[in-house]
Amino acid sequence: MTQTIAFYDRVDQALHDTALQTALNRATTRFVGNRVSAISALCEADRLRDQARAIRAYALAHLDELLPQLAANVEARGGHVCWASDGEEARRYIIELARARGVRSIVKSKSMASEEIHLNEALEHAGFEVVETDLGEYIIQLAGETPSHIIAPAIHKTREQVSALFEQHLGMPPTTEVPPMIRTARQALRQRFLRADMGISGVNFGVADSGAIVIVENEGNARLSTTVPRIHVAIMGIERIVARLADLGVMLQVLARSATGQKLSVYTSLICGSARPGEEDGPEEFHLVLLDNGRSRILGGQYAESLLCIRCGACLNACPVYQAIGGHAYGGVYSGPIGAILTPLLQPDLPDAYLLPQASSLCGACQEVCPVRIAIPDMLLRHRADAVRAGKAHPVEKAAIRGYTLTMTHPAIYRASGKAARLFSRILARKGRFRRLPPPLHLWTKQRDFPAPPSKTFRELWAEHRKQRSQNGA
């Protein structure tokens, strides 16, 4: 089968990148271990997950009421709301705002929604200085890369690689110690916070009944990005909403435990608009960009459940495919199992997006860890069916499936082809195994043997067994 498409090239690259393999192995093992202990420490983990799912499902079912309620509450607190139907509208709003306010320097805290609309690129193109302030995101910005993980964007980098980057860009002496690296980054970033005119953040949850936006993080950079500059712009996918402030108790717990194995993240900020008259802290202006960008199209369809996702990244860490190839191989903004579902929906222009749902053994580890119990394997299967319906199946695969269907629905053909296979194996197999098979099965035998069919089928053996038994009068 075709191995020349970009996706397969990226996979091959990833599998041969030893630094990536080391970094991935270290990080995902740690995350998985932490998550397991954090979840098992909860005696009611299952009930908590059911509650989390119910909260998210309610929010999705009531978006038409909750979104206007959120917007009204944000405005009542002096904030501004932009309804952006796509990335273009969101980018234009933010750029025009920055221009109108004479912004030069922008600090950002990590936001997958802004990655999704390629905001940095657009802002830089428009002449603004943009600095990512999350350590991981800062590292990959220096490296000129994109995040390879929803919550740990630089998960693919080893500390040796980070040291080399800091040496090159920040003049840090080479080291393999983490604290001096953190110190160096912090010093560089402090200057940026102080001179920034605008801070851009993502949103973990928008709370409809109070107009608050919630940001969870471990480094405190989001807190600085959203309070130091005079303007704060938050970008939120329209599905990232909960109905009530009271829902946060459940959501924050499952998010932190699933993401990093923490009981709660180090910082949880609830931001309600800009600074009120007389308040010393907080920005002068607050803008909330509500980003649709394809989400309302997903709503109500066969992939609607994917919108329950709270971007904890647990499915990435648990996924053996992600563990093997990392996030960049997926090619889209979101990686791992949930990325394989979202990318074909949110980035349908990516030519090989339809291949992502194929890159799964359907082992179900993702669904097992998902805090809101998204049926990820079922949706991967739906994507595969969509790809076949859209005529994207490889001709060899299509022919193979046709042959398989014919065989499995006609007992005579089934028996005949079984006989043919056994004849074939007498010629090609050695010691009951094939070490080499013709294309496309050569892809199997490259690194694995394949069992040769034994001389008799189960059916034949069973018939003999039955005959013998009736002769014995049993």
């Binding site: 599998l15 053994s361 299967l381 076949v388 892809l443 690194q447 069992p451």
Partner: protein
């Protein structure tokens, strides 16, 4: 030999029938020994999982529709494969939703069992009088584990194998990388996953790797054989039926 009042339809699955006939014999004969009347319909071929997983739903519908027809009114259905059992129990619902077969598919799902599940949970047998001298380690096949909740049944059965030392497999619930056509279409990822599994298996110093799914067996045995490992791979039923020769 006696046959009791229990009757089941044994669905050998296409892979067992063609590639692993001894697995079928072990599983079916063990059921007979427990007094179960085992019926093997001659025209029961395949659950259609390969077509379904590849996204060819029309083909899957054709194959599974035929299987549904063959199994109509046949009582409990037992399969020596977690993944095929999961196909019928979990995915036929999706495949046949909004079709005239929807009700029949859901009804079939309720009387379909994976083999070790039937043995332990339905008949209540955990000791079949098996013996094996050596170290055994067990790999949880993903579909059985996550879609049918299997694993404890196999361990209970293995713990009653006389002479066997059952040792835990690190990462026993990690996928071996098979995944049907995934193993060919994404061969490089599939074998990267397999390498991890093989290293874990070898670390146990077991004589025997046991699992409940012939799909995983094909992948794992294929890798062990290529590595010229001395560790043998067997289906749970073969071990319990004393079909593993001592070395």
């Amino acid at each position: 030999m006696t046959t009791g009042s229990r009757r089941i339809t044994f669905f050998a699955t296409c892979i067992v029938d063609q590639l692993y006939p001894t697995v079928g014999m072990a599983a079916a004969c063990l059921l007979e020994q427990q007094g179960v009347n085992v019926d093997v319909p001659d025209d029961l071929l395949c659950c259609g999982q390969m077509a379904f997983n590849a996204g060819f739903r029309d083909d899957a519908y054709t194959i599974a529709g035929r299987t549904l027809e063959v199994l109509r009114g046949k009582g409990d259905v037992v399969l020596p494969s977690g993944s095929c059992a999961a196909m019928i129990r979990h995915l036929y619902h999706e495949l046949f939703a909004h079709t005239p077969f929807a009700a029949a598919a859901d009804e079939l799902a309720h009387r379909t069992y994976e083999w070790s599940e039937y043995l332990v949970d339905v008949i209540g047998v955990t000791d079949v009088g098996a013996h094996f001298s050596g170290r055994i380690t067990y790999h949880d096949a993903c579909h059985g584990l996550r879609f049918l909740g299997l694993g404890k049944q196999a361990r209970m059965l293995l713990n009653h194998v006389a002479g066997a030392e059952v040792v835990p497999l690190p990462g026993c619930d990690q996928c071996c990388g098979f995944g049907g056509l995934f193993a060919i279409k994404q061969a490089s990822i599939s074998t990267a996953m397999l390498e991890r599994k093989l290293e874990a298996i070898e670390s146990t110093k077991a004589d025997l790797l046991v699992t409940g799914d012939v799909s995983c067996m094909t992948q794992i045995a294929g890798g062990l054989s290529r590595r010229q490992s001395a560790i043998r791979t067997r289906h749970l039923a073969e071990v319990l039926a004393n079909m593993v020769d001592a070395r």
